[in-house]
């Protein structure tokens, strides 16, 4: 009797299942702002040994329209030592009836080499399915085993913008007795059920509505609920590790991944010493060595097994003169060691989003390494993958965030430099002649610093046609530009980029009757107004501020006078300030001055509209024209 009972139960279960995936059974509030609904996202992780982690996952997604196709996410990445035991996708129509089943062998097996990497052994198995109708549902199950427990999966209850979650379940169980840590983030308004079980923890959440992307808002992971887990003892591509603090994790990186990989042969050491011969200042030595690395190496990324985490040895880099961020950083460190300058391999989460390594949750984090050189009183940073970044220029790639400095005494979380608003500076000086024929011609000089330097310095070797394309885009409000001489000067010591550009433009002025209209701001209009954000839900975040100052000397056409003087404008807001003024410099010559300061900071969502209003004003004034009338003589 037991048998038939269980069959009955099974039948009943399968019937409810097909109903479960019908489109109609989706709660209405989950359809708002959504291109797809995650019906169920369930992952069970069981750690059976320090080097064995079993993952069972099921993900069911109902796709509502074409934009939702990408949210199915029916794939699994795998490394050489991983075993993908099971992989299957079942497709259901909108009524929840099964229409197709896709087995593991019909998944595409592809190399998973990311942009910028030459070779890696990562691969991906990915579902290749052409939807035949909307909405449709895909139930995707996977089961795999990995020895790499250093990366215990993190769990997000919401995947992305424009996708809601009906059910999300995550369990993490350690069967082998290794202690583990977990951290819940941004659970705030969400109702997430947390159950501690023997050796593990289970999370369940229901009905998380879809969010709309909003301009100038914090990063998705900074306000949506996630769980981080980490094992105190772990394994990574053949190497065991143990850490509960950043200090310990740093020690492990130092002892297991770096130690002994910084040896250089005598000839190279001698050459390094010769490079700095006669120098005593450690900063000068650092410049010399860094310059040598920049002139002699290039970035090539190869990630094989533990090589994804361990730098290729300094002597190998010395031989081939290329490497990835780990290899080039370790090589630079070895050269600095050779000339008696201490430096530290530093792990960072690179990118403009300023993602911190979490001080409260030490685990394998970060996506990049660079080099820290502590000099008296201050830290110097070296980006060893770039052949052009100046000494100590962080830019938006690595500025203002917690990073892990790896020292022989262990790891240490330190913060990189924050650019103050005024540090991101651009000064534009221009002198122009305006003709009666409505033509302008003159010269512009632009000096850029801080993060504004970031936007410019890589253009130092642009070809003439690239320059043309660039300036015609930068000054797209000026028609019919012809460029004259273009000069760039990249001052790497002061981290300053100077552009000197001659240009002229036919018909810059427009006519209205017998009057001429002249827009005095001819070379730095800030016309970008952030997009409207209806029913704003997220705070306004200005990640980095900047300061622009401009002085344009304009020679008016013979016989013309300004009919109106633009009133001096002064706008003060909490987001920044804007001021313009025009004064008569000498007869027929006017001086236009402009100053725009944008302050970084996070402001309540109500301020978004005010900020937009401010930027609209800036755009309007930057476009404003003065009327020139013929002098009555």
């Amino acid at each position: 009797m037991r048998l038939s009972f269980s069959i009955l139960l099974f039948l009943w279960a399968s019937i409810t299942f097909s109903q479960e995936y019908s489109f109609d059974s989706i709660p209405k509030k989950l359809l708002d702002n959504a291109d797809a609904v995650v019906r169920l996202d369930k992952m069970d992780v069981v750690v059976t040994a320090r080097d064995q982690m079993k993952i069972n996952a099921k993900r069911v997604v109902t796709v509502l329209n074409e934009n939702g196709d990408r949210l199915v996410e029916a794939y699994t990445y795998y490394e050489k030592k991983d075993k993908v035991a099971e992989l299957e996708a079942v497709v259901y129509n909108s009524k929840g009836q099964e229409i197709k089943k896709i087995k593991k062998r019909d998944f595409l097996d592809q190399s998973a080499i990311g942009g910028g990497t030459l070779y890696s052994d990562s691969r991906v198995l990915i579902l290749n399915y052409t939807p035949t109708q909307y909405p449709y549902t895909i139930e995707f199950t996977k089961e795999y085993v990995t020895p790499n427990t250093a990366f215990a999966p993190n769990w997000s209850f919401l995947d992305n913008y424009r996708v809601s979650t009906e059910n999300s379940e995550f369990s993490f169980v350690v069967e082998c007795g290794i202690p583990f840590r977990h951290q819940e983030e941004n659970f705030g308004p969400y109702n997430i059920d947390v159950t501690e079980i023997t050796n593990g923890i289970v999370y369940k959440a229901k009905h998380l509505v879809a969010l709309e992307r909003e301009p100038l808002s914090p990063s998705f992971q900074d306000f949506t609920p996630i769980v981080k887990v980490a094992l105190d003892k772990f394994h990574l591509e053949g190497v065991d590790g143990e850490a509960t603090t950043w200090k310990e994790l740093g020690s492990w990186i130092n002892n297991e991944l770096l130690s002994g990989r910084d040896k250089l042969d005598e000839a190279t050491i001698a050459r390094a010493k010769q490079l700095v011969a006669g120098l005593t200042d450690p900063l000068e030595k650092t410049r010399k060595i860094y310059n040598y690395v920049q002139e002699n190496t290039r970035y090539i990324s190869v990630q094989l097994g533990i090589g994804g985490w361990m730098p290729i040895s300094a002597s190998d880099v010395d031989r081939v003169k290329y490497g990835d961020c780990k290899g080039l950083t370790n090589y630079t460190k070895a050269l600095l060691d050779a000339v008696g300058v201490d430096s530290y391999y530093t792990v960072v989460n690179a990118g403009s989003q300023q993602v911190n390594l979490d001080p409260n949750f030490p685990s394998m984090q970060g996506n990049h390494v660079f080099l820290n050189v502590p000099l008296e009183g201050s830290d110097i940073w070296l980006e060893c993958t770039s052949q052009t970044t100046p000494v100590n220029h962080l830019g938006t790639f690595t500025d203002n965030r917690n990073v892990l400095k790896v020292t022989p005494q262990g790891g240490e979380l330190v913060r990189t430099k924050k650019y103050r608003d005024e540090d991101n500076y651009q000064f534009t000086a221009a002198e122009f002649k305006v003709g009666i024929d409505k033509k302008i011609s003159g010269k512009v000089k632009i000096v850029s610093k801080g993060t504004q330097y970031d936007n410019k310095y890589w253009r130092a070797n642009n070809t003439r046609s690239e320059q043309e394309e660039f300036y015609k885009g930068y000054w797209n409000y000026v028609q019919n530009i012809s460029l004259g001489n273009v000069d760039f000067h990249n001052d790497v010591d002061n981290i300053e980029f100077v552009e000197e550009v001659e240009f002229s433009a036919e018909n810059y002025l427009s006519s209205a009757g017998d009057k001429l209209l002249l827009a005095p701001n001819l070379s730095n209009r800030n016309l970008g107004v952030p997009d409207r954000s209806r029913n704003r839900k997220l705070p306004l975040l200005i990640r980095r501020g900047y300061l622009d100052e401009d002085e344009f000397i304009i020679h008016l056409p013979d016989g013309y006078l300004p009919e109106t003087w633009m009133l001096p404008v002064k706008e003060e807001t909490k987001f920044g300030s804007y001021a313009i003024s025009i004064e008569s410099k000498e007869p027929g010559v006017i001086l236009y001055k402009r100053r725009l300061l944008i302050k970084s900071g996070q402001y309540p969502k109500e301020d978004y509209k005010l900020y937009r209003d401010f930027r609209k004003k800036v755009a309007r004034y930057d476009n404003a024209k003065i009327v020139l009338t013929r002098k009555e003589s």
Binding site: N65, K100, T132, N461, K472, G473
Partner: protein
């Protein structure tokens, strides 16, 4: 005597052997040079490229093609470092795997006035399975710095003896000298084609060759299982081709080109026939007619096209009661479009699943969908044929080759017109093909194997017609009603965007595109009916749409529809501008002059035309009582503007922008 004459003919051109460049031997000048002589802006250059193709025969394996490649690359600056890594694609289709071997390399640098070299080791060579059909080898060189000269050599062994890859002679960096040598056994007759705008030296000779072939054969009759190795000699002659080109300029991509590869200097060898001993002479594609015929004869094309019994009942039912051919055609087209879903794959052949399975699953590649469509048309008694097409990304095949086509559409003869159908897109319509298929000419194949060239270019202009009313408000904002009609390809593009996501997302994007328009009462007419022009209409408002200076109002009559930027920025252009299809924008804008104001001045009307009736711009404006009416029309009658008209095109846009920027001035009455 015939043979003798033939030989004589072949020997006419003798190769002049040029200064030999040897692998691993570079000159001091090459390494010391800091800038390319003719193209000083070049980041790198190919100083020399040599490819040597020859055939090998092994008894067990048969013929294979060996391609030896030698690159000598000069790196001038850091931006040229990408050229220190070569990526070699290798086919791996169904058991026919190309293999790379013999990878060698040297990097040469100047050190203290001397040339020093560094050898490429194994750790700079990587092989990777990209997917089921493709492998890739990557070679990255050691010790590369500004000024380095790289010598790289490798060999590809291919079992695909009937196929010789294109010889590219031009890249986005200059190529100083390129040589290709092919040694092709008499059994294979290849035809040669070259493309691009540059001189290529070409010569052909003939040499005798004998190869030793060892094979196993069973011993005397009757003995079981015993074989022995035997040796034999195969005597034959080979056609030797030598190709040379020098001082090739960099090939740089430009905006609005359909496919830069169309302009690349390259040489192709296409198998024309085979003539094996004791076998009949076998002819392959030589003319487009032949190519079409041979594609038609493939099972995965003609064979699939001729199947009907999988759909007959459904089509019987679908067209029962329909009398006119037009009705039947539309019913079938609609049926296939809604039933079938394109999987994104191109190609002139059906996949392994074939039309029957595709029909059942509702998913298929382009051949499955459009051959099915053609077949249904024929079944319904319509005069339909498949048309072979090369997509834009596939490029323009300048010579007859079986690889020349990668796409199929259906052509239906309706009276004197040939109407084109592509059912891979839900929003497609007769004679409206997706952009990917709007390339060059197609080739229509009839049942008897005969074929003819078909112009794919739409005959009618795609319209974008806007009617907009404008009220000026005191706070500098405007509002009014907006109505926009799209036809043909414009309507196709609109519908695809509209269908993709939710209407909210669509409206958000629409508002942003017009610089923060605020849209209400949005309405779309005929979104579902591609037979009719699609129309969107809405009420709009927009802030800061005009200026007030000293009591006068200055406004641009096109407001947010103004063309603000010349799309053509570079001074010169080498290749034609290609819009894909002819188009016309027609804007009618009615502006109500607010009370208390009168018109002080309005811009002058103008009309500008491109040469050869390629396009025109007309700007008309008039003020009547308190309404200003503007009518602005821009049309490109010919979607492809040859490069030598680039100056005219730029000037044309200059006029458009200047005229559209001119202001109406209103003054207080």
């Amino acid at each position: 005597m015939r043979l003798g004459l033939f030989l004589l003919f072949l020997f006419v051109q003798q190769v002049a052997s040029s200064n030999q460049i040897k692998f691993g031997k570079v000159s001091k000048e090459e390494v010391a040079s800091v800038q390319h002589e003719n193209f000083p802006e070049a980041n790198a250059a190919i100083l020399y490229k040599n490819e040597w193709v020859r055939y090998e025969y092994q008894y067990q394996i048969g013929w294979s093609v060996i391609r030896e490649v030698h690159y000598r690359i000069k790196i001038y600056n850091k931006e040229g470092f990408d050229w220190a890594t070569l990526q070699v694609p290798l086919y791996a289709a169904s058991g026919n795997k190309e293999e790379i071997s013999g990878v060698k390399g040297f990097t040469f640098n100047m050190e203290n006035g001397k040339v020093v070299s560094q050898k490429l080791r194994n750790d700079g060579v990587f092989e990777e399975e990209v997917n089921k059909y493709r492998n890739k080898a990557s070679i990255t060189m050691p010790e590369v710095k500004e000024g380095s000269v790289l010598d790289i050599e490798y060999k590809i062994i291919s079992p695909l003896y009937w196929h010789i890859d294109e010889f590219k002679l031009q890249y986005d960096i200059p190529v100083d000298q390129a040589q290709v040598r092919l040694e092709i056994p008499e059994y294979f007759i290849f035809k040669q084609y070259s493309k691009g705008f540059h001189n290529i030296d070409f010569s052909q000779t003939r040499e005798n060759r004998s190869i030793n072939v060892s094979y196993r054969s069973s011993d005397e009759m009757g003995r079981l299982g015993s074989t022995s190795r035997k040796n034999g000699t195969l005597e034959f002659f080979e056609n030797i081709y030598n190709i040379e080109a020098s001082n090739l300029p960099p090939l740089l991509d430009e905006k609005y080109t359909s496919n830069i590869d169309n302009f690349r200097v390259a040489v192709n060898f296409e198998l024309a026939s085979t003539r094996f001993p004791n076998q009949p002479f076998k002819n392959y594609s030589l003319t487009w007619e032949d190519v079409a015929k041979s594609i038609y004869e493939y099972d995965d094309f003609g064979g699939e096209l001729n199947k009907q019994n999988y759909f007959d009942d459904d089509i019987d039912q679908l067209i029962s009661g329909l009398t006119s051919n037009e009705e039947k055609a539309m019913a079938i087209f609609h049926y296939v479009k809604s039933k079938m879903n394109w999987d994104g794959y191109t190609g002139v052949g059906c996949s392994d699943q074939g039309v029957r399975r595709a029909y059942k699953e509702g998913t298929g590649n382009v051949a499955e969908i459009n051959l099915m469509l053609t077949s249904m048309f024929k079944y319904a008694g319509l005069n339909a044929n498949p048309i072979l097409v090369s997509t834009r990304s596939h490029g323009i095949p300048l010579f007859p080759t079986s690889d020349g086509f990668n796409y199929v559409v259906a052509g239906l003869q309706i009276q004197n017109d040939l109407v084109l159908f592509d059912a891979t897109e839900k929003n497609a319509f007769p004679d409206v093909l997706p952009m990917r298929a709007l390339n060059w000419f197609g080739r229509l194949i009839r049942e008897d194997g005969s074929s003819s060239q078909v112009n794919l270019m739409p005959k009618t202009k795609s319209l974008d017609a806007i009617m907009m009313s404008v009220e000026l408000n005191e706070d500098g904002s405007i509002n009014g009603r907006y109505r926009q009609q799209y036809t043909a390809n414009n309507a196709f593009v609109f519908r695809n965007n509209y269908d993709k996501g939710s209407e909210d997302s669509f409206l958000d994007a629409l508002e942003k595109r017009h610089g923060d328009l605020e849209i209400s009462e949005y309405e779309v007419i005929n979104a579902e009916d591609p037979a009719k022009p699609v129309v969107q209409s809405f009420n709009y408002s927009k802030e800061a749409a005009f200026e007030e200076v000293a009591g006068k109002l200055y406004l641009s009559p096109l407001f947010h529809l103004t063309t603000r930027e010349n799309p053509f920025k570079t001074e010169k252009r080498a290749f034609p501008v290609d819009y894909g299809y002819p188009w016309e924008d027609k804007y009618i804008i009615n502006i109500n002059v607010p009370e208390g104001y009168v018109v002080e001045s309005i811009p002058e009307p103008i009309a500008v035309a491109l040469p050869d009736n390629m396009g025109q711009f007309k700007y008309n404006i008039s003020a009547n009582n308190n309404v200003i009416s503007a009518r602005i029309e821009t049309a490109f009658n010919n979607p492809v503007i040859p490069a030598h008209y680039y100056g005219d095109l730029k000037e044309f846009y200059r006029h458009i922008i200047e005229k559209e920027s001119q202001k109406i001035v209103l003054t207080k009455s």
